[in-house]
């Protein structure tokens, strides 16, 4: 819950924060990820998401943004302008801060723990189930689709070739996968019903994530600090 609060606070800061603050947030996320022993994966995931977005953004904004007036240097016929660069920095820093907070959440917190925490605080178990089952069952549906595709290939379906051919090959897959998934869904819904999923009373949780008194304190501190930073940023930009 504390990391979710952190991610939500960073989201709020993303709207008003300046690049240095947001860069600081990203570094803080990296430190937390390193403490949580997921530092390497964190960096890898960040680079994979940020680089393909940041590079084109910097190039396009610094060269072609019409707000650009101050030429920093020339690259042949193209002029790199300070205003465009600043705009790109602002966008990328927001993105880096936001993505860092959510990747930290995803890498450190087990989805079931997060959902259990939210459910124990009043979120509907149906929403919790929806979140978890989407994450877990999609790989199963993919496996089913591969099996059906293999079966259809063995009956002569061509799946290699140009884009149109590949698209046409996937059409016959849709029926069995969708209908099969819907049929499974009915049995699963019955099984859930038979196991009291829709009882609606107060649930017990066998695995409730541990909650230390310091967690509550941290969450309150995070929310207070974020509110303060938002107010200061709005006041400063208003002046």
């Amino acid at each position: 819950m504390t990391l979710l609060t952190y991610a939500l606070c960073v989201t709020a800061l993303g709207f008003v924060g300046e690049p240095p603050l947001l860069a600081g947030v990203a570094v803080f996320s990296l430190i937390l990820a390193t403490i949580g022993r997921v530092g390497r994966r964190f960096v890898f995931m960040m680079l994979r998401v940020i680089i393909p977005i940041a590079i084109p953004l910097f190039v396009i904004q610094s060269l072609f943004n019409p707000i650009g007036r101050t030429v920093l240097f020339q690259l042949g016929p193209l002029a790199v302008k300070a205003e465009g660069l600043a705009f790109a920095t602002s966008i990328v820093s927001r993105l880096v801060a936001l993505v860092s907070a959510y990747f930290l959440l995803v890498l450190v917190v087990h989805p079931r723990d997060l959902v259990t925490s939210l459910e124990s605080r009043g979120m509907s178990p149906r929403i919790g189930y929806l979140i978890l089952s989407t994450m877990r069952l999609i790989p199963q549906i993919q496996r089913t689709a591969e099996t059906i595709l293999d079966a259809q290939r063995s009956r002569g379906l061509r799946t290699k070739g140009n884009l149109l051919l590949r698209f046409r090959a996937y059409l016959p897959l849709m029926g069995p996968v969708v209908m099969g998934s819907l049929a499974s869904l009915e049995v699963r819904a019955m099984a859930l019903e038979a196991r009291g999923f829709n009882l609606g009373g107060r649930k017990t949780y066998l695995r409730l994530p541990p909650e230390q008194p310091v967690d509550r304190l941290l969450r309150r501190g995070l929310v207070a600090a974020t509110l303060a930073l938002v107010v200061i940023s709005v006041a400063v930009s208003g002046v």
Binding site: Y129, Q140, V187, M190, A191, K203, Y205, L206
Partner: protein
């Protein structure tokens, strides 16, 4: 003493079936079913595909008609309550249902067998200590306590089915309804499940099991009900039902051991009499024929 389960002239039709232009009686999945089950019985329900076995199973825990809707006529009373007037959640405390496909009845959202089995008691709001002890008992009863920390999706079909059974047992129902629990399992997986069924029965559960594996059923059942076209056409002890030649009229094969006994009798190799139902009885018959001491 009133029966644990009573079906009194029960008829059931799935929604949409009446609009398909079928003959009126053909549109019903259950037709005039009257059946009583006493506490402690292990009732085997047999019949060809489409005979109404699954529908009968679903009727007992209220999924018919509350989940499927459709038309239910007559009375279905389980543990003193009419399934029409009580909800599925009210019935799950009395009736646990195990379905055919082990994978499809797993919740799909748990990481360990232990969590999977705890899902039902958690929903019931049972105190945490009680959830723990229920899970321990259910895992032990299903013979899968050593799998408790494994991921449910990484298990074999037979193991998954025993996880699903443990999940049902953890709800602590007094009646177990098993709808073709071994139809998708290999012989080893089937044997594992039937072993647990026998054990559950000996420990006092009332069990109804719809099944095609007639030899396995003959080993454990105390009573056999034959369904055909949604109707109960035969009902009695395994010996009364499974040794009758008319069984074939309803597309139900008798146990191979019984057929063996009948063929030997037809060829005059043994005197007509009590045919064997189980492997042990068949071994005894062969032993007698060979003139050996079977003790």
């Amino acid at each position: 003493m009133s029966s644990l389960i009573t079906l009194d002239h029960a008829w059931y039709r799935y929604p949409g079936r009446e609009a398909e232009g079928e003959a009126e009686s053909d549109s019903w999945a259950l037709r005039d079913v009257s059946l009583t089950v006493e506490s402690g019985e292990l009732v085997g329900i047999v019949g060809r595909n489409g005979a109404g076995k699954s529908t009968l199973c679903l009727t007992l825990n209220g999924l018919v008609p509350h989940f499927f809707h459709g038309d239910l006529k007559g009375d279905v009373v389980v543990a003193g309550s009419s399934t029409r007037s009580v909800t599925v959640p009210a019935l799950i405390k009395h009736v646990g249902v195990l379905f055919q496909n082990p994978f499809e009845q797993l919740t799909g959202v748990t990481d360990t067998v232990r969590e999977e089995v705890a899902f039902g008691p958690e929903n019931l709001g049972v105190p945490r200590d009680e959830v723990e002890s229920r899970v321990d008992r259910a895992l032990a009863s299903a013979g899968i306590d050593r799998l408790s920390e494994r991921h449910p999706f990484e298990l074999s079909g037979g193991q998954q089915q025993r996880v699903a059974l443990a999940a049902v047992l953890a709800m602590e129902p007094s009646i177990l309804v098993l709808d073709e629990p071994t139809s998708q399992l290999d012989p080893v997986g089937s044997d594992e499940v039937f072993e647990v069924i026998g054990r559950m029965h000996r420990s006092g559960y009332t069990i109804l099991v719809a099944e095609h594996k007639i030899e396995a059923l003959a080993e454990v059942a105390t009573r056999i009900v034959v369904l055909a076209h949604g109707k109960v056409v035969m009902d009695g002890s395994p010996r009364q039902v499974l040794t009758k030649r008319e069984l074939l009229e309803f597309d139900v094969q008798p146990p191979r051991y019984t057929t063996l006994g009948q063929r030997l009798a037809d060829r005059g190799l043994r005197s007509k009499g009590e045919e064997p139902l189980t492997l042990d009885e068949a071994a005894r018959m062969v032993s007698d024929l060979l003139g050996q001491d079977h003790a």
